[in-house]
Each structure stands twice: as C-alpha cells, then as structure tokens.
C-alpha cells in the first residue's frame, strides 16, 4: 500500500469534498464509517490497492480530492462484495465503489485503464445492445494508444487464441440486438430520471 503522505502540503480538513461524496447514490452510507478496517481485510484485491476503502474515506474526510480520485482503490474493486457483507456499519461498499467510479469518470478522472475499459464497454453496449470482444478491444485501444495496444495484444495472445478455439470470441461483429431503439429509449429515460433526482 502507498504511504498516505502523498503530498507535502499540510493536511487541512475540508468538509466540502465529503459532502460531494455523500451526495452520490450510496454516498450517504459512507458517513457511518467508524474506521475499523474490516473492508481492508475482506478485500480480494487488497494487495493491489493504493488505499483500503477505509483509508479512501479518510482522505475524503480530510478533503484530499486529488489523491482520492487518483488512487486506484475504486478501480481495483472487483465487486466480490465481501466488504459489503462484512462491514460492521453495513456500508454497501461495492455500491459506493461503483458510484465513485462513475463519479470519477464524470469528473474526467479517466487516466486509469479501467476507466477506459468501463467507458468502452458502455459504448459497445449502447451501440449494439451486446458486447463484441473485438469491438470492445478496438474502442479500448483507440483510447489507450498504439504502444499499449501492441503490448497488450502481445500479452493476451494466449487468452485470445484459447477463446477463439472455443468459439468464445467471434471474429466478425455480431448483429445488433432486436429492439435496440427501445433499449436506448429505456436508458435515456432512466438517465433523465436520474438527472432529475440529482437536481433535487
């Protein structure tokens, strides 16, 4: 894990940032964190995270916005739900992490590859109503750049071959789903409602 003293600036408590997080869909629950650290230990990817969720909330409380969004914590969450199940304060941590990811993307914190992946995945769904691995890869590497693509494709060649062999990865883009238009309408309506609720 990373040492928390990431910046040499004197740490100053700033409640405004916490309020921003509390306003997210599951953000309200974060208030209840009592800093016990159970989440840190329940986490399947705890070794990979810069900060445990508990520490992330600590940064939030202090108002360290940049460190908060630049940490990999939310992106490393694999939604295994163990933290949510065990949190003694009943904080739905996986949901909170999801909120944070979407909030981070909205705010433009998209440097993390996972952010690109989420965005690509979403675009792919929105476009076809289903996911085409090739299309997903294309979108992803278009954003991440040429050098990452060569490196990435080289590293994943075995996986790719295996998937091909087992017919798990079509080479040709599949057709869009039936009723793609209706699906888009559903999503638009849901998003509109969400915006209305956020505006309240």
């Amino acid at each position: 894990m990373t040492d928390l003293n990431v910046s040499s600036e004197p740490v100053k408590y700033n409640p405004d940032f916490a309020k921003e997080i509390y306003a997210l869909e599951s953000g309200e629950h974060v208030k209840l964190c009592m800093q016990c650290g159970m989440c840190a230990l329940s986490c399947a990817t705890r070794e990979e995270m810069d900060y445990s969720p508990r520490k992330l909330f600590l940064l939030m409380r202090v108002g360290k916005r940049e460190e908060f969004f630049k940490a990999n914590t939310m992106w490393m969450c694999s939604t295994c739900l163990m933290c949510k199940v065990r949190c003694p304060r009943g904080i739905p941590l996986a949901d909170v992490m999801h909120d944070l990811k979407s909030h981070a993307i909205k705010l433009g914190y998209t440097e993390r590859p996972q952010a690109t992946f989420y965005q690509s995945f979403w675009q792919e769904i929105l476009n076809k109503g289903r996911v085409f691995e090739g299309g997903l890869m294309a979108r992803y590497y278009l954003k991440r750049g040429w050098s990452e693509m060569t490196k990435g494709l080289f590293e994943m060649r075995d996986l790719g071959m295996t998937m091909l062999k087992h017919n798990r990865m079509p080479l040709k883009s599949p057709k869009s789903i039936k009723g793609l238009k209706s699906m888009k309408q559903i999503i638009e309506r849901a998003q509109a409602q969400m915006h209305r609720e956020e505006g309240r």
Binding site: M1, L4, C36, L41, S42, R54, R86, P88
Partner: protein, 418 residues
Amino acid sequence: MVNKSILVVGGGISGLTAAIEAAEVGFEVYIVEKNSYLGGKVTQINQYFPKLCPPNCGLEINFRRIRSNPNIRFFTMAEVEEITGQEGNFDVTVKLNPQYVNENCTACGKCAEVCPAERANDFNYGLDKTKAVHMAHQFAFPVKYVIDAKACEAGCSKCAEVCQYKAVELDMQPKTMKLNVGSVVWATGWKPYDAQKLSYYGFGRYPNVITNVIMERLAAANGPTGGKIVRPSDGKEIKSIAFIQCAGSRDENHLHCCSTVCCMATLKQTTYVREQYPDARICVYYIDIRSRGKHEDFFVKVQNETNITLIKGKAGEIMEDPATGNLTVMAEDQIAQQLTGEMFDMVVLATGMAPATAEQKIPAEISYDEDGFVASPQTAGVHAAGCVKKPLDVAASVQDATAAALKAIQSVRGQNNV
C-alpha cells in the same frame, strides 16, 4: 388483594441481588433459576476487573445472605412458563425440571464414584468431562448433585444403588407449580454471542481460536486445565496470543450495540496471560478501547505493567496453519499504516453479550430493541434487571438489580402512582 411477594426470574448476579436486596427490606421473594445452581455467569468468571478478585468471594457473601434470610425461597432447574394477571396479583406457572437427585443428597460424592457414564462439561464449555451424575461445579450452591439424564447409560442405576440416603430418583418427572406474586423481576441475563457466526474468525473450526468466556475457564484454578492457560489443540504453552475486540459487537450484521464489558475483560485477560507467561507476545486488536470512568486506571496500569501491543484495527480474518495449529491474524494496523498478518499460538475472540431475551422472550407484553434487549416493559409490575436490559458489567448489573428491587417493591406496595 395485593400480593406482597416478588418473583425473581434468573439467579445470576442480577437476580440474586434483586432478590436479596428486596428480601432484606422485608419482602418475601422467590427465585426461579434454570440451572441446578445459583450464581449464573459470574460463577464461570475467574476474576473480576479491575480488582482481579474472585467472584466466588462475593457470591459466598450473597449465599450467606440467602442462608440467613427466611424471606428467600429459590427453585433451581426451574423455568417460568406463563404469567397471567396484573400488577399486585400475578399467577405464574413454573416448570420444575427433574434434577433426579432429591433434597436428601448430602453431596458425599459416592454416586459419582460409581457412575460409568461421562458427559462434556458445559460449565467448562466442553473442554473437559464430568460423570453423568455430578456437581455442576465446585462452588455450586445449593451443594447438591445433579444427573444429566441424556448422558446416562440405558438401564443403569448404579448411583441410586450406592446412595445410602435414597437421594437418587431416576424416575423423577417434570412438575409444574403455581406461584402467586405481586411483582416479577426478569433477570435472565445474557449469553455469549455465538462466535461461529463470525465465520472469518474460524471459531469452531480452528481449535486454538477461543472466546473470552472460554479464556475465563482456562485461567480458573477450578477450570479444565487447573488454571494453566494452554492451547486447546495440543496443550502447548503459549508464546504469543491475540485478543480480537468487537467480535460480533458494534456490528450491523451481528450485535448492533457495544457490549460494554469486552474491552475491560480483555485487558484483564492480558494480565492472566502475562502472569503465566512473562515473555509472551500479547496483541489486542481494537476499534476503540472503552475503559470508561475510573476503569481508565486499569487500562493505564495494563499498558504500563503488562507490556501489550495495541493494534488499532479490527481483525479481518484468521487463517490456520493446519500443520501447527498456529493462527495468522490479518488486520489493517491503522496507526502503522499497513496491512499486517501476524502469527499467534492462540486467539481470543472478545465476543459480546447477547441478551437471553433474544432467544427466550418474557411471557408477558414486552417490547425489545433491535438486539433483543428489553426496551421497556409495558406490563406494569414486570421489571427487567441487569443484562436483559443492556450490556452491563458486574457492578453496574448489581446497581441496576438493586434499582429493580425498588421498582418491584413499589409494585407490590401498590403505590406506584403516588
């Protein structure tokens, strides 16, 4: 007609206190206790914090108060089944379970000598065995033997044959009895929260993960090891031990409240370990140390004298090395800012207090809080005392029970509305 007598349900420290205090004012009191002995949970405690004195000392005084006070009558192996009527005039149905040993018993012990059957000793949480006919524990009051009929060999009547006082009655049947009383004090106490529900700590699977109540028995001179604190798996001495606080307390998935006593109980237990193992490594994993009031002195004393390591961070998981039985405790040490995984010979879970009323409700109109503690009795004349109301240490239970005695007296005096 107002009945002036008081029924106290539960003969633990709260029930005993409520009963004796009311009786010494001059009221007739009945105690109904489900075990074969009085004293309840405190009989299983090795020492009280913060004085590190033996509970049997105070119990002895209380039993003497009972012995010398004709106002008190008690029934062991008894349970309340039904309460009807109202304040000043309750009819209570009490079930008397068979002890299979009658009042002739002189506690001479001949029966146990010939008894061929053994049973796990529940008084020591199954860590040792007793004969099917046994005395519940050395300090049992009343001093009478009891038979665990489930443990008996079929058709065996050796104990009955050897007893020259005709004290064994193997065909004893449950009985019911009616009591008419003016008021009821409900003091059925607490149970240790079931640590098996905390699957990540492995209690029940890893033999060297024990609970704080088991630790009391391990440290007790009259416990299964004669007071020597050793590992349950192999009887080995301890070089390192961890205490895990809030094991089930302060937890939305388990007991929502804080159990109040576990911090002090753990600090006390570190002194047990330190006394036997001057060089052992002792770690306490905590969220907050709650040694309230003057108990802070004990916390300071333990920090100064007992050489313990306090780790701020709830332990998240325990892993066992099946070859050695050693345990790795995973936690986030928040002061040192790191994940830790330290290995210990033994781990003690500071499991909290679940009210007895979480499982067995009072047969009257009563409301309970989210953890099953008595919220406020709606039935006038029925008063809760001690740990069925809130998690309390011994001194606070006694205070609360003394207060409940006054409430009961107000009920039977019929002057509650003055």
